[in-house]
Every structure is written in structure tokens, then in C-alpha cells.
């Protein structure tokens, strides 16, 4: 059943037919997909959803594609983990981790947005897809495009680290490194998107792309036993994920799939790039663009397109926003790994680091349910923690040497 109604301007309300476009002709406001939810009355039930395969597409009526997905049909449905050890470490009573660090196929939540964007691109008849990215998005577009038999272009700053280039290059995409200052590189990407007839995932098909993030929220609620948490903490770059997690909760309430639990949404940023968190703390809704300087590269968006809307969601739901230093990011990455066995990327360190800070400051209550959205994998940002981990102790290949070491650790050989 297709319940997509139109694209609607978030500012002036003007509606547009479904097409690859992203801003309002009249006021430049961003366009958003809107739906006729009444059409799902009595049809879109918990039972129907539960009967479907465990992928993000079990909620396909609420994603803006027609029929079945043509790209990324297996993506999503990552684990929701009860984090007992971390609960103890933080002194809270009910904590969960939505673990998108193992999202299929490229280990970040971007696989959700990209599979919607590319499925829609195929529907629109595009043969070539593109993005501008320094990491997760590049890899996800390249991989999902390869699997779908689409041509892809990935634009990156020319001096990007080798490992990140590899993460996209292996999929045979066309990578273009652009020289110049950040703003100039950014402007070129926008111009290319406007000029070539491609599906630029975070430009002309952004309204569809962004909707993919809602699937993280749907899964979270289903996995909690058809319930929304009291509090959810989301990492913010453009701010889109934050707004879409909120939208997913409102939709489930509207559809009668869950009760309204008064969920508060919290945003997490790194101090070196915290324009949204700053606006929340300053009590304003104007976002001052900043020049990003943080170890959390995946969140380094200095002029966030959805900053205003993320700020509004946080305020309206009674949440808060916080930011943490690079050192706090690294400490939190280690804490998560050592308590829960989850190796998250820097963005995960930002989310946990901010949650910890907000628990300590009392912004997050200790006795109510909290979900942390962990959105990317630590293997992609190894350089961040290289100096922070225990180095192996080197011994000769001699049992005596090891016995001495084990004894020092307090271990006795079994009899």
C-alpha cells in the first residue's frame, strides 16, 4: 500500500509532486515527504510487521518508495542491546544501545538512508548516483550502488586519509578528490549536483534519503517491546537523524502501534563542531556556522542543514543537547568497548560521552529508560584510539616467561 502524499515545504507548507527535488521554489525551505496515514488504518498492525523479514523494510509503508526496494533489501534491523555493565558504570537503571555499528552492509546507519535514496533513484530512472562525503556515506553509496548495478561518483576532499578512500574505492566507484578550502569544495559539490542529471543522495533526493533514518527509530520501538523509551540520545551532524528518530516515534503513536511515552530527544556533538548543541544551550534557534575541528570526523558538519529542526525537536520534547571534548570521545569509545564489547566509531564516543555528561548533570534521569544510538563502527576510525589502547606485552616463546607474567597477573596454572 502506498501512502506517500507529496513533498511539502517545511517552512511555507507548499506541496510538490513526488520528484527528485529538495528545496522550495518559493522560500528555499527544505522539502519533506508527507503521508496519508489514515490509509493504513486497521492494516498496518504489529502482527503484520512481525510477520515480515527482519530488515528495515518491514516498515516499508512508512518509507517513501513504491512497492519493493530495489537497493539494500537486506539492510537494517540491527541489535538493540540491554547494556547492563554500562548501566553499572554510569549509575543508571535502564540503558539500551541501538547498535548500528553492525549495520549491513557497510557498518553505519548510512546504509539505511542510502538504500532508500538509491531505491528511489532507480524508481525515478537514474542510472548514476553520487554523494559528497568524508567517510561513512561514501562507503555506503559506493557499496550499495555496486550491489544494485548503478554507476556512482563519490566526491571527497583531495587530502582525505588513505583508509577512508579505500573504504569507498574498493567498490569500484569513481572517486573525485577536490582541492581547495572546505567552503569551495562544498560549493562545487552543490553545483555538480545541480548540473548533472544524477541522483545526488544528500542533495536532490535528500527528502527521500533522510526518511531512511526513521527505520532506526521504528526498530528501536519494536525491539523495546512496542514501546518508546523515555529518553533517546542521538549523534548530530546535519541534525537529520535527530529529527527523523522523533518523526518515527510520532508516526508510531499516530498509527496506534505504541503509547505516547513522552519521549525526550537529546542531541550529541563534539565540542569542536557543536553548532546545534550551542544553539540549544544558548536558548536560540539560530545556528551559527562553525569551522569544524574534531576527532569525530563523521559529525564534522559546521553548517548543518537540519540544525534548526533538530534544535526544535530537542526543545519541543524536553530534551537537551551536549558536547564533549576529543579526549572525552576517546574515553567513551573505550568505556563502551570495555563494558559492552562494542567497538563504535568516534560518533559513538560522542553519543556515550554526551550521555554520561548529561547523566552527571542531571539532564538525563538515572531511573528512566534511555536508548543510545550508536551509529558507526570503530574499525573505521582506528587512528582515534591507537594511542589509547593497551599495547601487547612482548615475551619470548618460552613457557617460563609466560608463567612469570601470569603469576604477576594473579593466575595460577591449573593442577
Amino acid at each position: 500500500m502506498n501512502i506517500v502524499r507529496a513533498l511539502k515545504c517545511r517552512e511555507c507548507g507548499q506541496e510538490y509532486d513526488i520528484q527528485p527535488t529538495h528545496v522550495c521554489e518559493f522560500c528555499f525551505g527544505p522539502l519533506e515527504v508527507v503521508y496519508d496515514y489514515e490509509k493504513l488504518d486497521g492494516y498496518f498492525t504489529r502482527e503484520l510487521i512481525e510477520s515480515r523479514p527482519q530488515t528495515m523494510w518491514r516498515y516499508k509503508e512508512l518509507l517513501p518508495i513504491e512497492g519493493e526496494p530495489s537497493v539494500g533489501a537486506q539492510n537494517g534491523f540491527t541489535p538493540l542491546v540491554r547494556a547492563k555493565n554500562l548501566e553499572k558504570a554510569l549509575g543508571v537503571s535502564e540503558l539500551y544501545i541501538k547498535n548500528d555499528s553492525v549495520c549491513y552492509p557497510t557498518l553505519s546507519f548510512k546504509d539505511r538512508v542510502v538504500s532508500v535514496a538509491l531505491s528511489k533513484a532507480v524508481e525515478f530512472g537514474f542510472k548514476t548516483v553520487a554523494c559528497a562525503s568524508t567517510g561513512n556515506l561514501a562507503g555506503s553509496v559506493a557499496a550499495n550502488a555496486a550491489a544494485a548495478g548503478l554507476e556512482s561518483y563519490v566526491f571527497i576532499p583531495h587530502d582525505l586519509e588513505q583508509g577512508k578512500v579505500l573504504g569507498a574505492g574498493i567498490f569500484g566507484t569513481r572517486i573525485i578528490g577536490i582541492k581547495g578550502k572546505y567552503d569551495d569544495v562544498n560549493r562545487l559539490c552543490s553545483e555538480v549536483a545541480g548540473k548533472y542529471g544524477w541522483a545526488f543522495v544528500n542533495v536532490n533526493v535528500r527528502p527521500f534519503y533522510a526518511e531512511g533514518s526513521k527505520s532506526l527509530g521504528y526498530e528501536m520501538m519494536e525491539q523495546l517491546g512496542w514501546k518508546a523509551p523515555k529518553h533517546v540520545v542521538v549523534p548530530m551532524a546535519s541534525g537529520s537523524l535527530c529529527t527523523k528518530v522523533h518523526k518515527s516515534i510520532k508516526e508510531f503513536i499516530k498509527l496506534g502501534l505504541i503509547e505516547d511515552n513522552g519521549t525526550a530527544v537529546y542531541g550529541a556533538q563534539a565540542t569542536g563542531c557543536s553548532p546545534i548543541a550551542k544553539s540549544v544551550k544558548d536558548g536560540t534557534d539560530l545556528i551559527h556556522p562553525v569551522i569544524a575541528d574534531t576527532v569525530a570526523k563523521s559529525l564534522a558538519i559546521g553548517n548543518p542543514a537540519d540544525g534548526f529542526y533538530a534544535n526544535r525537536v530537542i526543545n519541543e520534547t524536553g530534551g537537551w543537547a551536549e558536547d564533549v571534548s576529543d579526549q572525552e570521545v576517546i574515553d567513551a569509545m573505550k568505556l563502551l568497548a570495555e563494558t559492552e564489547g562494542i567497538f563504535a566509531e568516534t560518533a559513538g564516543g560522542v553519543t556515550l560521552g554526551c550521555a554520561k555528561k548529561m547523566i552527571e548533570s542531571g539532564k538525563l534521569p538515572r531511573d528512566e529508560s534511555i536508548v543510545l544510538c550508536i551509529t558507526g563502527n570503530g574499525l573505521k576510525t582506528q587512528e582515534a584510539v591507537l594511542d589509547a589502547i593497551n599495547k601487547p606485552r612482548i615475551i619470548d616463546a618460552s613457557l617460563k616467561d609466560f608463567d612469570a607474567l601470569a603469576e604477576a597477573d594473579g593466575f595460577q596454572a591449573a593442577a
Binding site: 528545496v23 567552503d183 560549493r187 558538519i301
Partner: protein, 79 residues
């Protein structure tokens, strides 16, 4: 060409009539599509229409005046 940009004015530029000056200095048609101005900051969505090189020079001039000129998509380079 018709370029669509967001201009961010800060404390030092928010009181200056820079869009008026732009029209005087360059042969472009400017069309404000949205604006929000507060004491310390201003945000303007502007359409600049003219010959490509003139439009480019006009945006470079704005940047020189201390205005942040961004595409209406704002940052498109994601993580």
C-alpha cells in the same frame, strides 16, 4: 545563471546594507526569498541572477566583506 545561496551575517556585518551595495557594484539581479535578522546575526536566502562570471565575482565580493556564502543545501559534504 541564477545562483541560490544562504548568506550568514555576523555581528560585524549584520547592520551593513551589503545586498544593496552588491546590486550597485555588480550587474546582477538580487531577490531575497527568506530572511531572519537578529541583533547579532542574520540569515538571508538570496537568488543572484546574472552572467556566470559576474555572479561568481559577486559572491566572492560578499565573502570578502565577511559574509558566509553557502549553497542553499548548506554543508553537503557528509561524514
Amino acid at each position: 545563471m541564477k545562483l541560490r545561496v544562504y548568506l550568514t551575517f555576523d555581528e560585524s556585518t549584520v547592520r551593513e546594507p551589503l545586498i544593496w551595495k552588491l546590486g550597485k557594484e555588480f550587474n546582477v539581479v538580487t531577490n531575497i526569498r527568506t530572511a531572519e535578522v537578529k541583533n547579532h546575526m542574520g540569515l538571508v536566502g538570496l537568488e543572484i541572477d546574472g552572467e556566470s562570471d559576474v555572479v561568481e565575482a559577486a559572491t566572492a565580493w560578499l565573502a570578502d566583506q565577511g559574509v558566509k556564502v553557502a549553497p542553499i543545501e548548506q554543508d553537503v559534504i557528509e561524514g
